[in-house]
Symmetry: C2
Subunit: 523 residues, 2 copies
Amino acid sequence: MKLPTPGPELRRIGRIALGDIIHRSAERCGDRVAVIDGERTLTHRDLDALSSRFAHHLLSVLPPRTTVATLTTNSAEMLACLFGISKAAMVWVPVNVQLTASSIEYILEHAEVEYAVVDQELLERQDIASVLDRLGITAVAIGPGDGKRVAAFAEVTAGQSEDLPDVDVCGDDLALVMYTSGTTGHPKGAMHTHLSVYSTVTANMATHLMRESDVLSGFLPLFHCAQHTMTTSVLAAGGAVALARGFTADAGLDLIERRRVTIFGGLPMMFAAMLRHERSRSTDFSSVRLALYAMAAMPRPLIEQIARTMDADVWLVTGQTEAYPITMTFRALEHPHLDANYWGISTALCETKIMDSEGRLLGPGQPGEIVHRGPNVMAGYLKDPEATAAAQRFGWHHTGDLGVIDDSGQLLFLDRTKDMIKSGGENVPSIKVESVLLAHPDVANAAVIGVPHTHWGEAIVGVVILRDQARATAADLIEHAKAHLGRFESPKEIVIVEDLPVTATGKTQKMDLRRAYQDLFGA
Amino acid sequence: MKLPTPGPELRRIGRIALGDIIHRSAERCGDRVAVIDGERTLTHRDLDALSSRFAHHLLSVLPPRTTVATLTTNSAEMLACLFGISKAAMVWVPVNVQLTASSIEYILEHAEVEYAVVDQELLERQDIASVLDRLGITAVAIGPGDGKRVAAFAEVTAGQSEDLPDVDVCGDDLALVMYTSGTTGHPKGAMHTHLSVYSTVTANMATHLMRESDVLSGFLPLFHCAQHTMTTSVLAAGGAVALARGFTADAGLDLIERRRVTIFGGLPMMFAAMLRHERSRSTDFSSVRLALYAMAAMPRPLIEQIARTMDADVWLVTGQTEAYPITMTFRALEHPHLDANYWGISTALCETKIMDSEGRLLGPGQPGEIVHRGPNVMAGYLKDPEATAAAQRFGWHHTGDLGVIDDSGQLLFLDRTKDMIKSGGENVPSIKVESVLLAHPDVANAAVIGVPHTHWGEAIVGVVILRDQARATAADLIEHAKAHLGRFESPKEIVIVEDLPVTATGKTQKMDLRRAYQDLFGA
């Protein structure tokens, strides 16, 4: 028996739409705080009204299903824009404001963006203004605008209706195109439907047992999937997000204490910086119930220090632009004997397996590529059927990450596929070498890459930041590595640097390192 | 910008399938208990394996997408069947075992059922056996079978593979057809997709903050949407269900204490019976965190008694076969001043409004029909495009219930549309008259109906069960009603009876009453 083809009424009734999330939370708990942004607070009702006003503005100036970009850092207005774009059934293109003007131009053009919301600060940058001009994009400013062609967000939303717009939208419609930082060549735009993001929202609420009393930290950028998904989820649960721009240890501690943050989500280095800060000894952490870290492994001592100091549960949460977060959680305190590179278990939403290069699913103990299936997986890369087909081969989403599932069902992350180094015919996970270097008392941070080498194919190179006053030499560190690794796994060279290139979310940009050191061995 | 038409790989990757729920929970927490059925317990891994074995059996004997019925009461095997049918991408038709053989025949024929799982006890009933025979349905027995044509469930599942079958299934596929008790004429089959039920599962997990440690009571029948959705949700969260057949106060208290039930879901009368039982004074209720009641309003004193005795939160949960539960929750203890007929607020999943008969959405304080939209709404009634169109008019699902939203956003249930009595040109909610009758100290239960009357159109009639040793007469009760109601709202007649007809879930069957008393005034 098959379902008869659904009629148009059913499409309207069964709608799944991201814009509805804030409308429905406003109906349930309109008086509760939804956003804290500096000294301002907006209730769920305020955010619902502001986003509806922006949606009505968009509908009055643009044709249906237009792509609308944000070139913005975290703010209450940015959040109202995200919901407003969805309420207008338009397509959101978040742009990482740290990209170069030429990368931003590529994305805006590739996604056929016709309208953009831009922070005043960016609007005033000549390179960005030229890009908007060249592409003929209508812009609205979060800020006063330019007094000529670019109006202020406050101006365009003034006087608009606060009712939910009556638009045709359903779960299968495109909701957003989010560009990945890209490993080589141009960034790729991961397309997600309303259903895709919505499915993660309900799963996140369930996974994190989110409730009205929750207050989520907002230090990661909203243009990134991690902060976007967690923020949307806590709002769906009737809770609040305390937005921030620019992390410092002091700002983190202040947000936790003043805003009574219950869920702090950040990079391991953020937690490390807060707990190193002398103010942490007198900070009131009693509101925090969950410390979520992402993007990188957290050393065991830091996990234990967080648990002790904050009296909170400590979880790693994973996901990627292509498989909307959260895909997996590692509940570090429940597994004190497991290595910090574990990714743990999947949420109820998505299934995770290990696959070999021929599409065979592998059993426990057998390393291979981490693959997912579930509604949170992207619909594909915009205008890139080849990359889409590659990511979707064998009916599973290919993450580009290598892992292995142990006998207890916990997944251990091994490395990015592209970060696996092939040296002298052997596969060496860069992360394994990094762990050894990081264990040296003089090492503050380390990234390990493969560099072209005539003899080895790729030679292993460690790029290292030393701690203050540390005196270890490159030779000392190579000796240390040899004592803990197989000969073929030890770095051929150690480069000591002051800084490592990182993405907006704090991940080391290994492709930049590879480019910088590609001629190290004169290949 | 529109999404390109998704390819077949994406359908496979983005799958949403009810059968996956137990497979994924088994991967996450396979060793945890999933089902308690009498003295037996099955872990998530056991239930996953048994349901896969049944799915492989179905796939070996039936063509794809066959409709498979269950004529069963709660058991671990029944639960394995539900998941197994979904894993085989077949369509589940749950049948209420309390129906007459002719109603069962109607449903099996209407849904084109080719295969049925039947409790041994039913199989041995001649009328049921004849129905199966007449329709040429292949049956398998939960029990030994008949030694001839009907094999045992244990037999057909023996030796089958325990792997998840590799079938093509996605969220838009039909998952189940569940027949409503029906008000007039034949029962109607509400069709739900995998997405529809799945969406309620994640929303239920979030709404009830379900976790691995939860143990749900299983006294309501699994063939009804309420027990089905809550059971699936607690299993998705990695928790357990303690199944039971046939409620008694003693059995309820025993289940709570022995199985450490954390979420008890039942009818108000079940809670009343347990708390009246003398054993309740020594029962250990410490495991219970949520007391969920459904199907009927709960008097305030009982709500308070539950909160006191069980030290649990007390919520009403609503939903219907056509709008898969949970649609709304009323958190009774948070609103001590609100009447017990409140339905409260919607879950994050679905939107609820009040609509007039012309399709206009009404504001606070204006009574009208309760309408929903959201992914949990049925795709329609099987083979009944007229009833489907009526339920879907104006792009909202029509519940047939009347309500009003108060200024604080809480929804108050007024009556079933069809239970609104039109007497002398005035609308009288039957529930209003019932509340007054129930407030009389001699009344144990009351149902109020409209009966054809030459003068009044419909005359209001109260059908009443008196308490033991009560001595009130019909005339006394009419007097009592007149003292608390408008003249046009007071019953013209009171009939005192020993019993009221109820559905499998304990709702009064008013259509049976209307039929029984249709000639009371000789119309």
